[in-house]
């Protein structure tokens, strides 16, 4: 019941926003719709908290501790992004970068994107998971090119083509998975249900699943933004509107990683070896290293944080690949805190670039003096992102590091180098932007401060105190993924 309501709200709000068009209160409708989804997702979480994992809708949906926390995260971040987007898009409109038609499209697609992600998270059918991932891509492609500048169109085309190719590989992997499942579970839709597959994963043919995972890894890995399939990510993030960068980084990458982890659980059960884990370790570590070194030479502020997203998704992928209770726990916590921090940073970045009329870092200066809320928001967000102690990312990275030292000590130096270089890359750039005098081209701006404050507060809280229910959820999910 709560489940159907959850999915219907975003579809109906999307339709309503497409229908009413560029009404004065369209941004408010967008916020209200997202907030409503958030409220319903809390009810769903409460249900899981009380009764544990359950199946719904004729086994079509599956809710367990692993996906329900991502559902709450998705609806929460989309609500705060909608709040941020109200102020942000108003300024963009005043600058004449978007017109009424495009605003209508923007709002409708925003809700459709949320629907696609919720569907991907909640469905039990691996085929429908694939369809929803593709739908999430398609909903955001035209949002990346919203400004219609040559670079925006180039970025969106790249996003469309590369993710299309990538996700096609994932479909081939799904076909192979179905082939293996059909021999055990018989024909029909039941053979693609994750819960059924998980029960019989020991009987699935290992040779087929090994091949399937290679395709799934490349396919969903493209959407996670893992190196070397990451080319679309910095472009799409830097050219699209900032609210979209925030949800792409904070939410879509998480959902893609979620899909990959679900598939890994099946492959592990079948092969009984550590092959899938080793592949994820390799891709994760490579992403961490390449992205952290790429951060050193960025000039565009949004590209810098796009590479930082690749870096953090690399760390999370690495953690899930490592496996074991501590690393998996750390990986899940990392997905949560990274998503909160990164969207907060993108909110501040959006305001900062509006104040200076550019995304070039060398022209953004004196933020703390010009607008203390934006300046401190950016500085604190970056401190959290770099893994400074009181914040949640310190806790998750510490857990992952501990697990690495215990399970694969030889990889520890590589992990540390990646983290250190990323730290340096961020601070070298952000410190001069936050400090210093106000440049003459800076314009005052009334910023949306609530989203940033809320996110950073949560990240801080998660760093010093992990609530009991969250810890028990993570532990339940760890048991599930073993």
């Amino acid at each position: 019941m709560t489940l159907t309501l959850l999915l219907w709200i975003s579809v109906l709000v999307a339709a309503a926003l497409a229908f009413i068009g560029d009404w004065r209160y369209a941004p408010e409708v967008n916020i209200a719709g997202s907030a409503l989804t958030f409220a319903v997702s809390l009810a769903l979480a409460l249900q899981v908290y009380q009764t544990g994992a359950f199946l719904a809708g004729g086994n079509f949906f599956f809710v367990d501790p692993f996906n329900v926390y991502l559902v709450v995260l998705t609806t929460f971040v989309s609500t705060t992004t909608a709040i941020f987007s109200r102020r942000y898009m108003r300024v963009e409109r005043a600058h004449g970068r978007v017109g009424p038609m495009r605003m209508r499209f923007y709002h409708a697609m925003f809700q459709l994107f949320i629907f696609a992600m919720l569907m991907a998270l909640l469905t039990n059918n691996l085929g429908v998971l694939w369809i929803s991932m593709e739908l999430a891509t398609l909903a955001t492609v035209l949002l990346v090119s919203l400004y219609r500048t040559p670079t925006a169109i180039e970025a969106a085309w790249k996003y469309f083509i590369l993710c299309g190719v990538g996700i096609a590989q994932a479909l081939f992997g799904t076909v192979l998975l179905y082939f293996a499942a059909e021999r055990v579970l018989g024909e029909g839709g039941n053979a693609l249900l994750w819960t059924n597959l998980n029960q019989v994963s020991g009987q699935l043919e290992p040779t087929v699943l090994r091949l399937a995972f290679v395709f799934l890894m490349v396919g969903y890995g493209t959407k996670v933004g893992l190196v070397p399939m990451h080319n679309w990510l910095p472009d799409a993030h830097s050219e699209g509107p900032t609210p979209i960068s925030a949800v792409l980084s904070g939410l879509l990458l998480n959902v893609a990683l979620y899909a990959l982890v679900r598939c890994k659980a099946l492959v592990d059960g079948s092969t009984g070896t550590h092959l899938a884990g080793n592949m994820m370790i390799g891709f994760g570590l490579l992403s961490l290293l390449v992205a952290s070194f790429s951060m050193l030479r960025q000039k565009d502020i949004k590209r810098l944080f796009a590479y930082s997203s690749i870096e953090h998704m690399g760390i999370a992928t690495f953690a899930f690949g490592l496996g074991g209770p501590i690393a998996t726990f750390g990986g899940m916590l990392h997905m949560l805190v990274h998503s909160l921090t990164k969207s907060a940073v993108f909110f501040s970045v959006g305001h900062a670039s509006q104040m200076h009329g550019t995304q070039e870092m060398s022209r953004i200066r004196g933020l703390i003096r010009g607008n203390p809320a934006v300046g401190w928001g950016l500085l604190l967000g970056v401190m959290a992102l770099a893994g400074m102690p009181p914040f949640g990312l310190f806790a998750s990275e510490f857990l992952i590091l501990t697990a690495t030292i215990k399970q694969m000590p030889l990889l520890t130096p590589l992990l540390l180098i990646g983290l250190a270089v990323a730290f340096a890359g961020l601070f070298r750039r952000v410190q001069p932007m936050a400090a210093g005098r106000i440049p003459p081209w800076q314009k005052p701006l009334s910023a949306a401060n609530l989203p940033v404050a809320l996110h950073l507060l949560l990240v801080l809280l998660l760093g010093v105190y992990l609530p009991g229910f969250l810890a028990s959820w993570f532990q339940a999910a760890v048991g599930l993924l073993k």
Binding site: G127, I131, L135, R148, L211
Partner: protein
Amino acid sequence: MSNALVVQLNLLLAALILLTSFALLMQRRMFAIIHIFAWQGFFLGVSTAIIGYASGVHHLYLSALLTLVMKMMLLPYILYKLILKLKIHRQIECMVNVPTTMMIGIALVIFSYHLTEPIRQLSVLMTRTTLAVALATVMLGLLMMVTRSHAVSQIIGFLAMENGLFFAATSATFGMPMVVELGVALDLLIAAFIFGIFFFHINTTFDSLDVDQMAKLKETD
């Protein structure tokens, strides 16, 4: 129809699909590309229907119908109209190194046979031998997207990949569950809508559909 005849027919159609994939790879006229793509959709639809008849899996008839309508008629028609509207039907795409591309294509086909070997041994379906052709079609579509610089050719490569995936599903498992197949078809329709919009945007912004002009977003030192 006897079983042997069905296997023979299916192999023939698989060969024709592979042939159209190679033809797509080297064709440089816009209309000809679309014609070949429509033929590929036709072979795919007929093959699906034959497999449906022989195996008794009746939802394959629906898939076959869906394939014929979407991939043989609707998508080629949309592309045809777009090309006329954008006035690019006389354009001839320049390509470099056609022989090398062909050689890579052949290597990809052999690679596909090698990769699907364990699966073909496991399968008991009469269609198992065509799985390699299906994977080869996916790979050749990918190759087309990489080697071509025209937006229309890249999209055709993308759609040919989709054809290959569909063919893989029918030959490995007699088709995916219906809900998945319908969902994929829906995604394909939305994708068609989106690339239609893109063609206009690229054409108005860059004055041509040559994607090589879009090279501003690069890592600079």
